[in-house]
């Protein structure tokens, strides 16, 4: 479950507590493009099925692998179903599953890290060793072994994806928490006699939220790529459900004709992951020693 961060997370600042309301983010052009893509896909995931022109499973076209037309904006698939309708409902699986899994992975990782850091050396050492061993299994391999053992129903896929990325989230969260744990205000809280739970949740956690959110975005990208990859291999979301990866898989026979049915869902996944990546990359971060572009 190892994935080096796509952009260097270490640079994103863990800010000390600060008064005042939130500021408008200062984004570069690519950041705005990323934000637009993210908002677009969120809307599609929420409202997509209501916007679909046809029923998801209905065979509505005259021919298979039809190209773009006014009736079928993204053509038809290998059975003559409307690709746009299938994508609008498939996006919900891709985005929804990934969101849930990434949320589960990030929060579990953060909770474990906080627990390890405030609980003292032995527990910290134990949890960290275990996570190190788990991070030494490449994520796709881990997911394949899990699917072979437990099958690939949707709740299981969610769990598999979440477990796969807990160690990565833990690693980031722990390095942030260890730093924050040394801060004076945490020491003051400890001297005041506050309990561990209070220190973890009220002193450390609020100050690692920002970098953890950026990390959450990366986890989300990893999960999208992992799950759509698994679906593409036929080991992910199973029919009759279909996420965007399954749509690519079921239409591979149209590759020779250059069918839209195979390209459109693949491009859709890429715009989603690239969008999140561009957005995260342009988040404000600490100036590097270089003074150059961060």
């Amino acid at each position: 479950m190892t994935e080096a961060p796509l952009s260097s997370l270490g640079d994103i600042q863990a800010r000390p507590p600060r008064a005042g309301g939130p500021r408008l983010p200062q984004l570069s052009l690519s950041g705005w493009i990323g934000l637009a893509l993210v908002v677009f896909w969120t809307l599609v995931a929420v409202f997509g099925p209501f916007l679909a022109p046809y029923r998801v499973g209905a065979i509505v076209a005259d021919d298979v692998f039809e190209p773009f037309s006014a009736r079928h904006l993204l053509g038809s698939d290998y059975l003559g179903r409307d690709v746009l309708s299938r994508m609008l409902s498939g996006a919900r699986y891709t985005v929804g599953l990934a969101l849930a899994a990434a949320l589960l992975a990030s929060s579990t990782g953060a909770a474990l890290a906080l627990f390890a850091v405030v609980s003292g050396r032995w527990i910290d050492e134990l949890v960290s060793r275990l996570m190190d061993a788990m991070i030494s299994i490449p994520s796709k391999i881990f997911a394949l072994v899990m699917v072979a053992a437990f099958g690939s129903s949707i709740p299981l896929l969610l769990l598999i994806a979440a477990v796969t990325y807990v160690p990565g989230a833990y690693r980031i969260a722990r390095s942030l928490a260890v730093g924050l744990n040394q801060m004076e205000y945490v020491q003051v809280a400890r001297a005041r006699g506050e309990g561990r739970l209070y220190i973890a949740t009220a002193e450390i956690l609020p100050n690692m939220i920002n970098p953890m959110l950026a990390d959450f975005g990366l986890r989300f990208v990893f999960v999208v790529l992992l799950l759509s990859g698994m679906s593409f291999l036929g080991l992910g979301v199973q029919p009759p459900h279909a996420d965007l990866g399954s749509l690519v898989r079921e239409n591979t026979s149209g590759l020779g004709d250059g069918a839209l049915a195979i390209l459109a869902p693949a491009v859709a996944i890429a715009t989603l992951t690239i969008g999140v990546n561009l957005l995260i990359d342009s988040l404000p971060r600490r100036r590097r020693r270089s003074g150059g572009e961060a």
Binding site: L6, S7, A133, P138, I141, V145, A149, S228, I274, G291
Partner: protein, 317 residues
């Protein structure tokens, strides 16, 4: 014994312990099957006697920790059992596939490393420029593109539209160099895509780290030309971090190979593993998983050792 050697030996030791832990995790997950391997193999119509006989033959009556030790001993001695799908020794099946995967990985590395290093060094030299920012957005997008998109677009362009390259990798037994290149062009291209981006980003960071040191500023003030500063002054000092970046990026090959080998129907070990998952062939799956994990750990180990060796404070304590 020098401090460096101690450090490297300690690193080796911790890698061995990690590998052992990994083998436990892999074994634990894959033997937690809800079904029973014996009844699964024989199907529903099997007699209880047949199931019991196969259970005994597969050693399923032993307690889990003994089975783990047997399995581990088998792995270490090079005999990871028999495949449940076709009853061939796992070792033979893997021996036929592993060299093909290594060839694919080797060709990919041979293409990806020089290109990535060139892009990384170049954008580090011109950091902050329009070109660097364009490259940044480009590599950032490339690392997030799913392999099957890259593969399908590549097949569509080069095999379907232009008809330059075959879309399946069917290399003849003793290919000439030309045949080899044609057969491997598409899978290698696909694998390179993500890896080049990843490697270029890490190389850029490593070189920039050096280019912001005082000695580089000194060289620049002396009037040394930027290309010479980067290549003669900064690059030798960045070798360690760069090798580190290369090794870590190559570990991406492991994940990418699974998709790419499947798409191009390439008879390597990654597609073998996917088949093993589909047929729930646990002995084969476990062996493949351990090969991937070992390869990954080796790459990370190389990266770490390079980082240790590249740090002069550790080399000359």
């Amino acid at each position: 014994m020098s401090a460096t050697l101690v450090l490297i030996l300690r690193r080796l030791g911790s890698a061995a312990v990690t590998l052992l832990l990994v083998s436990m995790v892999v074994f634990a997950i894959s033997s937690l099957l809800p079904g029973d391997a014996a009844s699964e193999t024989l199907g529903q119509s099997a007699t209880p006697e047949a199931v019991a006989a196969l259970r005994a033959q597969l050693g399923l009556n032993e307690p889990a920790h003994l089975r783990y030790l047997h399995w581990l001993a088998g792995l270490v001695t090079g005999d990871p059992g028999r495949s449940m799908a076709n009853n061939l020794p796992v070792r033979e099946i893997i021996a036929g596939r592993l060299p093909k995967s290594l060839l694919l990985a080797g060709l990919t590395a041979a293409v990806a490393v020089p290109v990535a290093l060139a892009i990384g060094i170049f954008s580090a030299m011109y950091r902050g420029s329009r070109l660097d920012r364009a490259l940044n957005v480009m590599t950032l997008s490339m690392v997030a593109a799913p392999e099957f998109l890259v593969a399908t677009v590549a097949v569509l362009v080069f095999a379907v539209k232009l008809r330059w390259l075959p879309s399946l990798t069917l290399a003849p037994e003793h290919p000439t160099l030309g045949e080899l290149l044609r057969a491997y062009a598409l899978p290698v291209m696909t694998l390179c895509f993500v890896i080049i981006a990843q490697m270029a980003r890490m190389t850029r960071a490593a070189v920039i780290d050096q280019l912001t040191q005082p000695y580089v500023e000194m060289a620049a003030l002396k009037g040394v030309r930027p290309a010479r500063v980067a290549l003669i002054h900064a690059l030798p000092n960045a070798i360690g971090p760069i090798v580190n970046a290369v090794a870590l990026s190559l570990s991406y090959l492991l994940g990418g190979a699974i998709i790419v080998e499947t798409i191009f129907n390439y008879p390597g070990i990654a597609s073998l593993m996917v088949d093993a998952v589909t047929s729930r062939d646990m002995p084969l799956l476990q062996a493949c998983a351990m090969i991937f994990c070992t390869a990954y750990l080796l790459l990370v180990l190389v990266a770490d050792v390079c980082a240790i060796l590249a740090n002069p404070r550790l080399r000359h304590p």
